[in-house]
């Protein structure tokens, strides 16, 4: 039984942070591995194959993004980045190079655990959609992929083609922050500046049609200056 625990690799050079994060996970039933540097982290990654990696971006021996790319080259394991505030561009670039999520320091226990749970679940979300008659569900929102139809509490929501595509894309990556550019690439193909506005206008319409009020978004959250995330719990 004890080997059924999720294995989490923490790559963090500050001992105090690493130790309290380790404590949080161990008391919540995860198995924890820690590494203080990227090289050590990569070694431990290949030898232990963890289920999730928690990565601090500001490590001394290697650029965090390089670490993400190396891991991504061989595995789809979820990576959550711990970042200091004020570097939005860092967030975007680490997400674009393959991280699943980021948490800004300082963070609370509940937030950290929720993000980790979400990331672990994301890995199985494609299975979940298939298992439930080809539908994606969060709260009272339901997306039927076969019929390209969205309903809230059983009531159909009338979305345009593009709006549906965006919502479906977010739902396929539920729990993960999708950056503006990655959404635009998937929906419109090309990347140019005017498109971010187009995406924002579409999202505004989607929110209106889903009946979301500011501060009360039950389905899709805004990550200001970064992108959007479909909630999954």
């Amino acid at each position: 039984m004890s080997n059924n625990k999720y294995k989490i690799l923490i790559v963090e050079d500050d001992r105090n942070i690493a130790s309290f994060v380790q404590m949080i996970f161990e008391t919540n039933g995860y198995q924890v591995l820690t590494a203080e540097q990227c090289r050590q982290g990569l070694l431990m990654f290949t030898s232990h194959m963890p289920d999730l990696v928690l990565l601090d971006l500001g490590l001394p021996d290697m650029d965090g993004e390089v670490f993400i790319r190396r891991v991504r080259a061989e595995s789809a394991v979820p990576i959550i980045v711990l970042s200091a505030r004020s570097d939005e561009s860092d967030k975007v670039s680490s997400l674009d190079s393959g991280a699943n999520d980021y948490i800004t320091k300082p963070f609370g226990t509940a937030e950290l655990l929720a993000r980790v749970r979400a990331a672990l679940r994301t890995n199985r979300s494609s299975l979940r959609a298939a298992a439930l008659d080809g539908c994606f569900r969060v709260d009272d929102l339901c997306i039927n992929y076969d019929r390209r139809q969205v309903t809230i509490a059983g009531e159909p929501v009338h979305l345009t083609q593009t709006e549906y595509n965006i919502l479906a894309l977010l739902s396929q990556h539920t729990g993960k922050v999708m950056t503006y550019s990655s959404i635009i690439r998937e929906i419109w193909g090309a990347m140019d500046n005017g498109n971010v506005k187009k995406l924002q206008v579409n999202m505004a319409n989607i929110r209106k049609k889903l009946g979301c009020r500011p501060g009360d978004n039950r389905y899709v959250t805004n990550e200001l200056g970064v992108g959007y995330r479909m909630l999954d719990e």
Binding site: R85, S86, E88, S89, P106, V196, K197, Q200, V201, M203, A204, R207, R213, P214, G215, D216, N217, T221, N222, L224, G225
Partner: protein, 354 residues
């Protein structure tokens, strides 16, 4: 940097002044038939150019051009150059002296103004630093104290005492986090040359992010929202603007005693978006209104000074809004309660701040 733009502007200014002087001279010549005014008009032009351009170059260029113009059009032989006569050379020397003296004076004046502004800036920064270090010491003392009490008397303290101490530590740490965020943002906007990383931000998304955060900290306080119906996008540094709105809402929670309603409104008027944070609490004492955004509380407010980041919070707001080219104001509502209002430009004119 804008030096190129500045150069073009100065050049155009000089050309306009000299052409103006030339035209005035032609008119005067026509009207009075006398040439006595001509050099005076050009000297005036050279002075104008030296006063209103940066550095020596344009003043001296203007003086040389003036000499050439006088020489060409208004002295014998008319409409032809005669550059070797002693009269021409002495005129040129006088013009040069006028130009360089004026330029020296204006440059000095500008320098002095800059020094004064810098000194003022430095003073404000010093005041802020003093206030901040004082404010930081209080929670740090209590965190340190609580931790050492627990470490030294771990087995003697009952469980609920432990819990109480830990809750205090947690609250103090959270306060410190917000304080440090404010300070970090000041270093972003309080430079000599501010370069903001502005991004088009959707009003609704900004409000949403602020409210989600606000609810996490104050789940019992409802905020009444009023936003424009249409899609509004404003160029701003979203993180900083989030901080401004958070500070204003938090201030209301901490300082508006007796508050029942808290409003966050945004509306569009002309090319500006106005934000309003209003409450129906106790309002702001009139004597504090004028100095509200300058970064310091009057020293005689020990009542809630221990955990009040109001002074710093508001000066951070003001600095951020200013860096965005907007303005923030505070007043008391006639119905009671405080009202903070600020505006931002909707289209980015992207002026370079010096």
């Amino acid at each position: 940097m804008g030096t190129r733009k500045q150069m073009i502007r100065d050049g155009v200014f000089m050309a306009a002044v000299l052409l103006g002087a030339f035209a005035v001279n032609l008119v005067l010549l026509e009207l009075f038939g006398t040439r006595s005014m001509i050099p005076m008009i050009f000297v005036l032009g050279v002075m104008l150019v030296s006063c209103h351009t940066t550095g020596y170059f344009w003043g001296i260029a203007a003086s040389l051009l003036s000499v050439l113009a006088v020489n060409y059009a208004f002295t014998y032989p008319y409409w032809a150059f005669d550059l070797i006569s002693p009269e021409c050379i002495s005129a040129a020397v006088v013009m040069l002296i006028v130009a360089s003296l004026t330029s020296t004076l204006t440059t000095k004046l500008k320098c002095q103004e800059q020094v004064k502004a810098e000194a003022e800036n430095e003073r404000m920064r010093g005041d802020l630093l003093r206030a901040v270090s004082h404010d930081l010491r209080t929670p740090l003392t209590s965190i340190y104290g609580a931790c050492s009490v627990m470490l030294d008397n771990y087995d003697d303290l009952p469980r609920e005492k432990h819990l109480k101490l830990l809750q205090d530590v947690c609250a103090d740490a959270q306060w410190l986090v917000r304080m440090v965020e404010n300070l970090l943002s000041i270093t972003r906007v309080d430079g000599v040359r501010v370069k903001l990383a502005k991004q088009d931000t959707v009003l609704e998304e900004l409000t949403d992010a602020v409210l989600v955060k606000f609810r996490k900290h104050y789940p019992n306080q409802t905020v009444q929202i009023s936003l424009p119906e249409e899609f509004v996008s404003v160029p701003m540094e979203a993180m900083l603007m989030e901080l401004v709105l958070m500070n204003l809402l938090e201030n209301a929670v901490h300082h508006a005693r007796g508050m029942k309603n808290l409003w966050l409104k945004a509306f569009v008027k002309g090319n500006r978006v106005y934000f309003q944070v209003e409450d129906d609490g106790c309002g702001i004492p009139e004597d504090r209104l004028p100095r509200l955004f300058t970064g310091l509380l009057p020293s005689q407010t020990p009542r809630d000074a221990s955990r009040s980041s109001m002074g710093i919070g508001l000066s951070v707001c003001s600095a951020i809004i200013k860096a965005h080219g907007g303005k923030i104001t505070a007043r008391n509502r006639p119905e009671g309660g405080a009202s903070f209002c600020f505006w931002l430009e909707m289209e980015d004119t992207d002026h370079v701040k010096q």
